[in-house]
């Protein structure tokens, strides 16, 4: 693919910062701009500012609502600035035991699922990155085919029920353990490692396991970090798997807690309870707070992790 030549030169040691910076390189222009182009530049800046405003608005809106009082939200007066500022809603939500149980579940599911996914993805990617592995193409095809054809919802559901994963953590952390996209990114990375390293390791008498653990993995920190983030964010954000296979509210991740708030089948009725002003209004308050608390970790980490994601996506398209 077209990104091929751009990445090949650094594919051996992809430094996320450098890759990200590459995207930011402006087109060098030395000739004086025409008047038309100057007009365009102004319009362009306005359009892009508009894009940023539209992107940020929903975030600003939920933050404003989370600090607003019920009356103002209900009267349709809250958009960017909180009206009737208060932190009561935060207190109410944070006093809900179930919220914290579900929040902790999200953390546990994310950590366990990411660990399992990393072990399976790394070992498979490493093995299929060896060009002299006999049957390599078969093993690659076995994985890639699942990208284009999958069993579908019902057969998966039937299977998970049949093996007794329903209402256990395993229904969440195992079935999505290998993402083929991530697998191919890691494979591309391992393929680009210099062969001499492993040849030297072999001469020193290291077997495959120890070469992988002591030589290859320590040199792959960048790609491992990227993969961990890819998996962790996708598990943190997932809800449907839990929604489908878990019946016990104590097992829900926080996304399902939030989904139930939004769907009105609220688990927080007890929290909202007492208020005679009707459910919708209270819920929209509480929804905003729950949303803010759910996205907070990602927003806080985002500035630091963004470049890894960008480089990961680009690594994934190295040769496509």
């Amino acid at each position: 693919m077209v990104t091929d030549s751009a990445l090949k030169d650094q594919a051996g040691a992809p430094d996320p910062t450098r890759l990200a910076r590459r995207l930011e390189r402006p087109t060098p222009t030395t000739v004086k701009d025409s008047r038309g182009y100057k007009v365009f530049t102004v319009i362009n800046v306005l359009v892009l500012t508009g894009v940023m405003a539209i992107t940020l608005y929903p975030f600003a809106n939920i933050i404003a609502q989370s600090f607003s009082s019920e009356g103002f939200i209900n009267a349709g007066q809250v958009n960017l600035v909180p009206r009737g500022f208060n932190v009561e809603t935060y207190r109410t939500v944070m006093a809900d035991n179930m919220f914290w149980i579900n929040y902790r579940n999200t953390v546990v599911y994310t950590v366990v699922a990411t660990t399992i996914a990393m072990v399976l993805t790394t070992t498979y990617a490493y093995a299929i990155s060896k060009k002299n592995l006999r049957g390599r193409n078969f093993f690659i095809m076995v994985a890639v085919f699942t990208m284009f054809f999958n069993g579908g919802l019902i057969p998966n559901y039937v299977l998970i029920n049949a093996i007794g994963f329903t209402n256990t953590i395993w229904a969440i952390v195992i079935p999505n353990a290998i993402s083929v996209f991530n697998l191919l990114v890691m494979k591309a990375f391992f393929e680009n490692m210099p062969d001499e390293l492993e040849e030297a390791a072999a001469i020193d008498g290291l077997g495959t396991y120890r070469t992988l653990l002591r030589i290859v993995l320590p040199l792959s920190k960048a790609v491992i970090a990227t993969m961990v983030l890819f998996y962790a964010v996708s598990f943190w954000n997932s809800w449907f798997q839990a929604f489908l296979y878990l019946d016990d509210a104590r097992l829900y991740p926080v996304t399902v807690y939030l989904r139930n708030l939004i769907a009105g089948a609220t688990t927080a009725t007890s929290v909202a309870g007492g208020s005679s002003d009707g459910m919708t209004q209270v819920a929209s308050n509480i929804q905003s707070v729950t949303m803010v608390l759910t996205v907070l970790p990602i927003i806080c980490l985002y500035p630091f992790i963004q470049k890894y994601f960008v480089s990961g996506v680009m690594l994934g398209s190295v040769k496509g």
Partner: protein, 339 residues
């Protein structure tokens, strides 16, 4: 839009790699011509030599077998009677009964049509926007500004669909921002989330909001690979910025466009199941209900497993056909292929 994916691995071009470690090309040639005892002996040799490497494959292969290939085989219940609790592959053959059932189901054709419309709207509206945004970003000279726009526009990609749905509900609610604007200019508030005629607009806008920024990454990467000398040469020939964009930039990113288009066509039928499931309600079913949500209700909520599986299989087969034919067309027309 689908995540850009690397598909190089499926390349059959590397088909020579069946040889063993040290035997080299000659041995490969032998192994290929005489498929008798030789490969067998060499497999044993290979295993003895590389068993540690193969052992690394065991766990992931078991995973793929159970959680990817078993459900594929499980699709057989589309043609067999299935009782919950008994074999996951069903009890007895019933032939095409369930297929006939859905072909004669008016409701199925309604959701089929909804799926096509939402997919087509996505392709027409959501697909081109990242290209335009990438081109606009490419014209920005101030790096800090470009970086700022990128950082902010990537952000929605990291949000859970549940969060996005929550935001949609708040902004389109009766007291939400859109209605605040409508009432401010003297209109009447619209209950958007309960109106079938608004669902597609809302769905597509939320898709645009969440995916367009992130979708620019591969285009921006492609833009950096365009030979800068082309621009200089065209400038000497008197081409203005617009002509340069048309004759140099766009052809330069065409392979990326085609690849992503093929991928998008491949996921055409799988329109955001989770998002629709979160956003729709019985009042908006006439426009919102798609194949995947319909089979979810029929299969899981009403326990018609075989019937829903037949629909799901039909959907997957269309998806597979779409991506194969899109790829074949793109290979013939522009010489770009996924594999």
């Amino acid at each position: 839009m689908s995540t850009p994916q690397n598909l190089e691995a499926s390349s059959p071009a590397g088909g020579q790699a069946t040889g063993t470690l040290s035997d080299g090309a000659a041995a490969v040639a032998i192994a290929r011509t005489s498929r008798g005892a030789y490969p067998q002996r060499s497999w044993r040799k290979t295993l003895r030599r590389d068993w540690q490497l193969y052992s690394l494959l065991v766990l992931p292969l078991i995973f793929l077998l159970i959680f990817r290939y078993m459900p594929m085989a499980g699709n057989v219940i589309a043609f067999r009677r299935f009782r919950p609790g008994s074999s996951i592959f069903g009890d007895e053959w019933v032939g095409l009964r369930y297929v006939e059932l859905f072909i004669n189901d008016a409701k199925f054709w309604e959701v089929f049509q909804n799926t096509l419309i939402l997919g087509a709207l996505g392709l027409l509206i959501v697909f081109p926007l990242p290209i335009i945004l990438a081109l606009l970003l490419n014209e920005v000279r101030r790096i800090w500004f470009k970086r700022l726009v990128q950082t902010i526009s990537y952000l929605p990609h990291f949000m859970s669909i549940v969060i996005v749905a929550g935001m949609v509900f708040q902004i389109f609610s009766v007291q939400g921002t859109i209605n605040q604007v409508i009432t401010a200019v003297g209109g009447d508030a619209v209950n958007f989330m309960q109106r079938a005629d608004w669902f597609r607009t809302i769905y597509i806008s939320s898709e645009v909001w969440q995916t367009v920024g992130w979708g620019t990454i591969l285009y921006l990467a492609a833009l950096t690979t365009i030979d800068q000398q082309l621009y200089e040469a065209s400038r000497i020939d008197g081409a203005n910025r617009w002509k340069q964009t048309w004759h140099i930039t766009l052809p330069g990113i065409r392979p990326t466009m085609v690849t992503l288009l093929v991928l998008n066509i491949g996921t055409f039928m799988a329109v955001g199941f989770e998002k629709v499931l979160l956003l729709y309600n019985p009042l908006t079913y006439p426009t919102a209900d798609v194949i995947s949500t319909y089979l979810y209700r029929v299969g899981i909520l009403s326990s018609n497993f075989s019937y829903a599986t037949a629909i799901g299989l039909f959907e997957s087969l269309i998806g597979l056909t779409l991506i194969l034919s899109a790829n074949a067309i793109s290979r013939r027309l522009v010489g770009t292929s996924l594999w």
